[in-house]
Amino acid sequence: MITEEIKKRMIAIIGPENFDDSKVGRLCYSYDATPDLQALPDAVVSPRNTEEVSELVKICNENKIPIVPRGTGTNLCGGTCPTEGGIVFLFKHMNQILELDLDNLTMTVQPGVITLDVIKKAEANGLFYPPDPGSMKSSTIGGNISENSGGLRGLKYGVTRDYVMGLEIVMANGDIIRTGGKLAKDVAGYDLTRLYVGAEGTLGIITEAILKLVPIPETKKTILALYEDLEAAARTVSKIIANKIIPATLEFLDQPTIAAVEDYVKIGLPTEAKAVLLIEQDGSPEQVEKDMAKIADICRSEQAVSVQMAKTVEEAEALTTARRTALSAIARIKPTTILEDATVPRSEIAKMVKAINEIAEKYNLPICTFGHSGDGNLHPTVPTDARNKEEMERVEQAFEEIFIKAIELGGTITGEHGVGVVKAPYLELKLGKAGIAAMMAIKNGLDPNNIMNPGKVFAKDSRKRVVVGQ
């Protein structure tokens, strides 16, 4: 509960225009991109700087008010849904690129900066910021860091974690700390930077980040390989890696996904193919030529029916852009779209694809599968209707089996979308009781009053549910 007195104190810090407890204002921050999940916060605040964040957090800590930090709310795990009420923190004023350091190849940013703006700023200076989640046009760096987001370029270049060198954090008690720095080497104490990457807002608020940049690759080539057989495509993926080639991008799309994407982008994608691989390699022109020739050979040896190289930069760009829209495009098919991101070791990708199809058949569900297959990260997606309770039950059971299968294959329940509310009941599958206890100890130590994004990551009970109602 936010009393009048607390409200007054907060307004004194940030001004009336940055405190909103109207019904409309609260409703607009009651959801994120997670299907069928909604809960109203008690208020929404927009601090203008780190000090204001710290002052606000102190008030919340004193009064045990839950805090939900929020970027653009594009996460898919219920991470910003205020399931326990409390106050949503927005970073719309803290959205500046503070510094581009060309000597150390770093960029210092505030949490509200849009991912694509970081990428563009780097490119304008001949540099490269590789993490490129499908949502990069609207997602924020604060959200990317907190979910440790991956992207299409993850296979070769890694994920957000690999590009965060230092952070400024407001702790749950309001203390402000700095971790890491513009340092290639730093072993002074625990690596708190890594701890906060992927912490999903449950350990503190990120108010600044130092990002690592790399030189931009000289050139880039894209090919599209079509298959009549899903598993042949998946085998190709494992084989490319086994041949010691690491492409920049290695994406997999099955037929229903291609059809949905084509329906939106209308660029003439091959909707008749059973599966498609989108492969990109970058680097020096000679190396790219060499790798691409070899990749094309491997595709053909695995019975690809067609292997085509994009002729122009625009054509290549159109293909990757099309891939980025896959999830939202599938959302056209049915009112509710439920997607998971089970991840397995690259070598197991063909087995996982096969298992997903068998499970889909068993539960009589139309599952579209696409994903960053090069990372072993798949996105089996079910277009459904939340109003159809019977089908939702089946969806739930199917996903549970998919998770179990992924773990069996040495994988994990989530590769990049995070645990949040939605996958909290499954965390134990991956970590075991002792693993959960270790994480709990960290959480309790850093946030003893459990105000930082409560209800996320750790399940209240171990009842398993994929879909949480309102």
Binding site: S22, K23, V24, G25, L27, C28, Y29, S30, Y31, D32, A33, P35, Q38, L40, T72, G73, T74, L90, K92, N95, I114, S135, K137, S138, S139, D263, Y264, T325, L327, S328, A329, A331, R332, P335, T336, T337, D385, A386
Partner: protein
């Protein structure tokens, strides 16, 4: 103010009438946020974004919130520019949701007396009647020619109006006389080898205040080898009604227009106002629940084409020599032409074909100018902020000629030029008028 009682009714009608599948279709991915001018201009308020507005409509349906003042404010501030539609991978038809929501609110809310009187006069008394539109425009002409305009300006009467309206008064075009407006042939032959037989949708504003542009449009069509039918019993397209929550009024106008164009045996129906065109291509949705009209509306809709699109398709710019004295020219998209009629390449190609000019694309040309029907009058503050941004981008091109393809945008750009004190250096023109100027016969 909406009373509690009214809110309750609005909520009930929302549950009845809003398309729930369409509301659920929004998966809240946020892809539309960077394209929404009001989201950006409001300083990234979710309540001023497409995703937020859809969530709010759904929340009213679900009974999570009441349709209170804030709710209405969020919808009122929407430009209806539909920039959120082409970028939505889920294919949410935001425009239809907005129109329905506005209609429900408007039908179930008592406006204050002055607002009611003005609305009635405009929506029932003026726009549906082409002859009254002429008279009204005639009055404006009298006002301009008689010296009254001078009096009004010198006495400062105009200061009583919102700033945008006062400036608007200064930028209105010189209107034609009653006689000019009434003499309109019903048929014009092609003057080049025949390419198409088309009908021309004159548009209520276009055929009064912008009569010259309409004349130029027909001239260009003739030069492009089109023979033109101009049915006399056509009417206002109904867009203004539709966008302002007067759906019944727009349905009546739609039926009249469908009837007027039905048996003309033409290949296309040509418009020269993006705003009208976008509304005309939506007639099938407007009349989707009317079995007698549904298919007729579909036939009508399939024929709608913007003037720039047809000129482009028949290679007008390759067949006719176009040339102008050196000047920098830039183009501001009409939102509805671009986002709904999907016409954005044709006008650019035509402009680029004009010899000796320098065509410079402005940054964010696809972002709304803030005109949006009567938005610039009722939501003056937001509209002017959006216009300021637009003028910044326009100035950055160093253009002396800003081209638009819709009367609302044209007036808004004129307004922007006037506000910046640039009227000596910069002009805003309709693309048709510029092409006519460039034709070398």
């Amino acid at each position: 103010m909406t009373t509690v009682q009214e809110q309750q009714t609005i909520q009930n009608v929302f549950q009845d009438r809003m398309d729930q599948d369409e509301l659920l279709n929004c998966m809240r991915c946020g892809f539309c946020l960077p394209s929404c001018p009001t989201y950006i201009t409001s300083g990234y308020k979710e309540s001023h974004s497409p995703r937020g507005r859809i969530a709010l409509m759904k929340a009213v349906v679900d009974g999570l919130i009441e349709p209170d003042e804030d709710f209405e404010q969020s919808l009122n501030q929407c430009l209806g520019c539909r920039a959120c539609e082409p970028v939505c991978p889920s294919g949410v038809n935001y425009g239809h949701l907005l129109e329905e929501a506005r209609d429900i609110i408007n039908q179930n809310k008592k406006h204050s007396l002055p607002v009611r009187t003005v609305r009635k006069a405009v929506f029932e008394g003026l726009f549906p009647h082409q002859n009254r539109m002429r008279t009204m425009t005639g009055l404006l002409g009298f006002y301009q020619r008689s010296g009254l305009q001078k009096v009004a300006r010198s006495t400062g009467v105009m200061k009583l109006f919102p700033e945008s309206l006062a400036t608007m008064e200064r930028v209105l075009p010189k209107v034609p006389t009653m006689k000019e407006m009434k003499n309109r042939p019903e048929f014009l032959p092609a003057v080049a080898p025949k390419t198409n037989r088309v009908a021309f949708f004159t548009g209520c504003l276009m055929d009064t205040m912008f009569l010259e542009t309409n004349n130029a449009t027909m001239k260009l069509l003739q030069l492009a080898g089109c023979e033109i039918v101009i049915p006399q019993n056509q009417n206002c397209c109904g867009a203004l009604h539709g966008h302002s929550g007067e759906k019944d009024g727009s349905k009546a106008l739609a039926k009249k227009n469908i009837k007027a164009f039905e048996d003309l045996n033409v290949d296309y129906i040509i418009t020269n106002a993006g705003g009208c065109g976008a509304f005309l291509v939506d007639y099938d949705h407007l009349l989707k629940d009317d079995p007698e009209w549904k298919d007729r509306a579909k036939d009508f809709k399939d024929k709608i084409k913007d003037i720039t699109q047809i000129l482009y398709e028949v290679d007008f710019h390759k067949k006719v020599k176009l040339e102008l004295p050196y000047q920098i020219v830039t183009y501001q998209d009409s939102c509805h032409l671009r986002n709904v009629m999907k016409t954005s390449a044709a006008p650019r190609a035509l402009l680029q074909a004009i010899e000796r000019i320098d065509y410079t694309e402005m940054k964010d040309a696809d972002r709304c100018c803030g005109s949006a029907g009567i938005y610039n009058i009722v939501e003056s503050e937001m509209s002017m902020q959006i216009l300021d941004y637009k003028m910044e981008q326009t100035k950055a091109t160093h253009a002396s000629t800003v081209v638009t393809a819709n009367p609302g945008c044209l007036l808004q750009m004129k307004l922007g030029i006037e506000r910046e004190g640039l009227s000596e250096k910069m002009r805003a023109v309709h693309i048709v008028d510029l092409l006519m100027e460039a034709v070398q016969e």
